[in-house]
Amino acid sequence: MSPREKQHALKGDGGGAVALRAERQLHQIGATVLRLAKERGVPETEVHIDEHIQALTRFANNTIHQHVAEQGLVVSIRTAADGRTARVTTNRVDEDSLRAAIDDCLSLASHQPKDSRLLAMLGKQKYRLVRRFHAGTAALTAEERARAVKHACQFAEKHGQIAAGIFSSGQSQSVLVNSRGLSAAYRHTNATFSITMQQGSATSWAKANSGDVHQFDPLELTKIAGEKASRAENPVELEPGQYTVILEPAAVLDLVGFLFYDFAATAVADKRSCLSGRLGKAIFGKNITITDDAYHGHQLGAPFDGEGMPRERVVLVDRGVVKNLVYSRRSAKRAGTKPTGHGFPLPNEYGEAPLNLVVEGGTTSVEEMVASTNRGLLVTRLWYIREVDPYEKIMTGMTRDGLFLIEKGKMGRAARNFRFNQSVLEMLRNVERLGPARRATGEEAFEMVVPPMKISNFHFSEVTKF
């Protein structure tokens, strides 16, 4: 038993960090499935093996009220034969269970019409190396998270505030193999600290996420949220209407995040993308450039897609012009182009999507944006964003946890939260200034690299009571 295997076997003792299995153990499971499938005479088989260890310390009212840990391993098997494919997933990894899963998969696949467009599985590929596993994050214990939370709660109490939030950490790995010799592996760590500080009826918020827990300081985030909450009491009620807004990165992320599937070639082919009929056109401002880049230093994620295709960096929007879409193998073949390595695991009806968006930033700091604004609003965070109109990409939602009035270049009183109904396409035509891009994390979209933005004529339609 290797040291890592021994550590895994001892998991649970002390409530501390535990270790993932050795990668070769996942490959062994994959090899077992391929062998069992071959014994069944299956022409093509693909196996995803995903393992994760995750823990989360949750606090509210200045105390820990939930504190959880989980670990699990899932084997997902796809068989393909005679133009028919299906997927069966199980977390039982003994040979009998894996054999049963293969049989279920064959049975599912056999009871459907033949699909003449089903492609043969992908052969062996080469992948760029990405290093996203940080030992310090993997080693973080329940007690260390609890102590950091305790310090945040003590800071809140000292300042007459109430803290609520999470401190989570985890590690995961994936292995993908198939019967045509493809073999891919990836592992990463992750950590998130999110805090809401309440002062009276006022709230504010800060959040950070990274593969490396040492890239953020929970107490510093606590202070940021606490300082903002202290300025957010007694909000003024403003008239709804068009305002210049400064969106902090989390607010940008949660709105722009709703565009990601529109860049899927399958969505465009299905005519459900807002980019249908708009490819090659300048639909955003000239200061907007968006790429999908799994290799960006602030991104997490595997360098391969659901079929094992290497992910490519794709320029989606170049200075306002929609330049490219992302393609799975199937959508690429239909479009007569090359796959970009963005496909979802098969079978699925959605095709592909860019999952590592990077919005190019600028050089204006948020403070400089405020100083340049005669009258406007600073938006900390948005909430409950939903699509009202899929083609004009009108989104509705609320501001939350810190909306501040800016007058004559200075931050002023907090304002009552607004509902917005805003076209994201129009919004990205009205960007006046951009700040430096950074890894941002919110609640509506997955993490991306985005800048803060100063935007004119943002539509607020109604106001709430706080």
Binding site: L10, G12, D13, G15, L56, T57, A60, N61, T63, I64, Q66, H67, V68, A69, E70, G72, A86, R87, V88, N91, R92, S107, L108, H111, Q112, P113, T141, A146, K150, I162, A164, G165, I166, S168, I195, T196, Q198, T203, D270, K271, S276, P347, E349, W383, Y384, D389, Y391, E392, I394, T396, M398, D401, N417, R419, N421, E462, V463, T464, K465, F466
Partner: protein, 486 residues
């Protein structure tokens, strides 16, 4: 399974836990979809594991594992106790729970036809036939169908001596036609949007939905919406269809009454609630004709919020939430009940899976039917807009201000249903809206709708909730704001 439950409880006790409960869950799921004449998703999944929740040093800990061996569950129990001890580093007071009885029981939800035993060809053929019927309608650019089945076995045991096994089979299905024309995308769904209707039932649900019979109409309405007039921006009378009213209940009644939100435990993510403790028995929530219950009992119907015991072993109950318009009760747990003066939990602790902690969730939060027939309600209405089938939903983090849009609407003029309207939306403040309700249709129109996608908690848990509703009328509602700047 009982051996794993018992062994983990014993290890937790030996490690110093003063209370523990454990769930072994075995979940099976099948997903089928089609898109424009072809099979999309065709998959099946299975997951089994154990999660144990403990109190040690007066604080909570939870751990879960898929290692179903005596060693595996023992390690998991030890980890839960160790986590609880670290939680105690930042505790303010010891965990308190109201008393609850001890139960040894086994219960199975209604399921006439096991969906996992129905031939797959039957299921795929039905979906492809409905897909084809929608796609044949000229102007339909995308047709989609789906079916989903889940079978969940839960073995619950507690250090108090309860041992409860429950089996719940959930079925769901839906169809949707999309039409892209010019500069607009329009969509119609049946029997509901975002996955259709989901209930606690077997394949008999799918058969009762008659997907094929509705497919052509759904396609035709999606295309017709392009030619319909825009929903006007005005304040006026609104009639909501049952499924939309179900979602309105979910967002503006179901979530605000969750006691964990009220107490600030969800402040960082799902939000809090305007229903602060001083409002209990002290708030005119709705007009006097409005009665809302949270009912997990099978007597209420086989909804997504129906069970015999919640996930901390409390029997299913019916709670009066709004009685004759007055706010009457919260959704509670064994830990929160005493904070509102209750001697017993309302039995609303639910977990998504074996690897998640139970938390306060909606059960079946339903409006009780009124007296009106739908025809009489329309005949009684001079000027209104009748909206149906949700397209978007959004509400602030204290559950005051909301905005919903629906797929379709019709004008009501002089007591008659008139022309179709596109892009309908309405918005308002929760209590103002519910106080404007002046008519609710009768039990013949009442359906226990399923909302399969309710997200809450960190880590996020997705839960199915039930919402019985029948079409109802509301006065002086703001409409059309979603498109007001276009």
């Amino acid at each position: 399974m009982w051996d794993y439950c018992g062994h983990s409880l014993e290890v937790a006790r030996r490690r110093g836990a003063t209370y523990a409960d454990v769930r072994v869950m075995h979940q099976r799921q099948r997903d089928l979809t089609t898109k424009s004449g072809r099979v999309g998703t065709l998959g099946q999944s299975e997951s089994i594991g154990l999660g144990i929740r403990v109190v040690a040093n007066g604080a909570w800990g939870f751990a879960s594992t898929d290692q179903l061996t005596r060693e595996g569950v023992a390690g998991c129990a030890a980890q839960a106790v160790a986590i609880a001890r670290s939680s105690a580093l930042a505790k303010k007071e010891n965990v308190q729970m109201v008393p609850e009885g001890t139960y040894v029981d086994s219960w199975q939800g209604p399921c006439v036809k096991d969906p996992f035993e129905i031939p797959l060809e039957t299921q795929v053929e039905l979906l492809l036939a409905a897909d084809s019927a929608m796609h044949k309608v000229k102007g339909v650019t995308l047709s989609e169908t789906d079916m989903q089945f889940r079978k969940i076995d839960t073995w619950f045991a507690s250090s108090s001596g309860s041992k409860i096994h429950q089996r719940r089979v959930i079925s769901g299905c839906g169809i949707v036609a999309t039409s892209f024309k010019g500069d607009a995308i329009q969509k119609r769904s049946y029997p509901n949007s975002f996955g259709g209707q989901h209930v606690l039932a077997g394949y008999e649900l799918i058969e009762s939905m008659e997907l094929l019979r509705h497919a052509t109409r759904v396609g035709e309405e999606a295309v017709a919406l392009h030619s319909a007039a825009q929903c006007p921006e005005k304040a006026g009378t609104l009639i909501l269809g049952g499924s939309q009213l179900g979602l309105q209940i979910h967002e503006s009644i179901g979530h605000p009454i969750e006691l964990d939100r009220v107490l600030g435990q969800e402040a960082n993510f799902a939000g809090t609630s305007f229903l602060t403790l001083d409002k209990l028995h002290n708030l005119r929530y709705a007009s006097p004709i409005v009665n809302v219950v949270a009912d997990a009992r099978i007597a209420h119907g086989a909804g997504l919020g129906t069970f015999a015991y919640d996930d901390e072993g409390v029997p299913a109950q019916c709670i009066d939430v709004i009685k004759d318009g007055e706010f009457h009760g919260y959704l509670s747990s064994r830990e929160t009940a005493h904070l509102v003066g209750l001697a017993r939990s309302g039995g609303t602790m639910r977990t998504e899976s074996w690897n998640r902690l139970p938390m306060i969730r909606m059960t079946n939060v339903s409006i009780l039917p009124g007296e009106w027939t739908l025809d009489n309600l329309i005949a009684d209405t001079d000027d209104a807009i009748m909206m149906d089938t949700n397209r978007s939903w959004s509400i602030d983090d204290r559950r005051y201000q909301f905005q919903f849009s629906t797929e379709i609407a019709w004008e009501i003029k002089g007591g008659k249903k008139g022309r179709m309207l596109k892009n309908p939306s309405y918005s308002g403040i929760t209590t103002e809206f519910w106080n404007s309700c002046d008519a609710i249709t009768n039990a013949d129109n009442w359906v226990l709708w399923g909302t399969p996608n309710c997200g809450k908690g960190q880590p996020m848990q997705v839960m199915g909730t039930g919402h019985g509703a029948s079409p109802a009328r509301f006065r002086n509602v703001k409409m059309g704001m979603a498109f007001s700047n276009q």
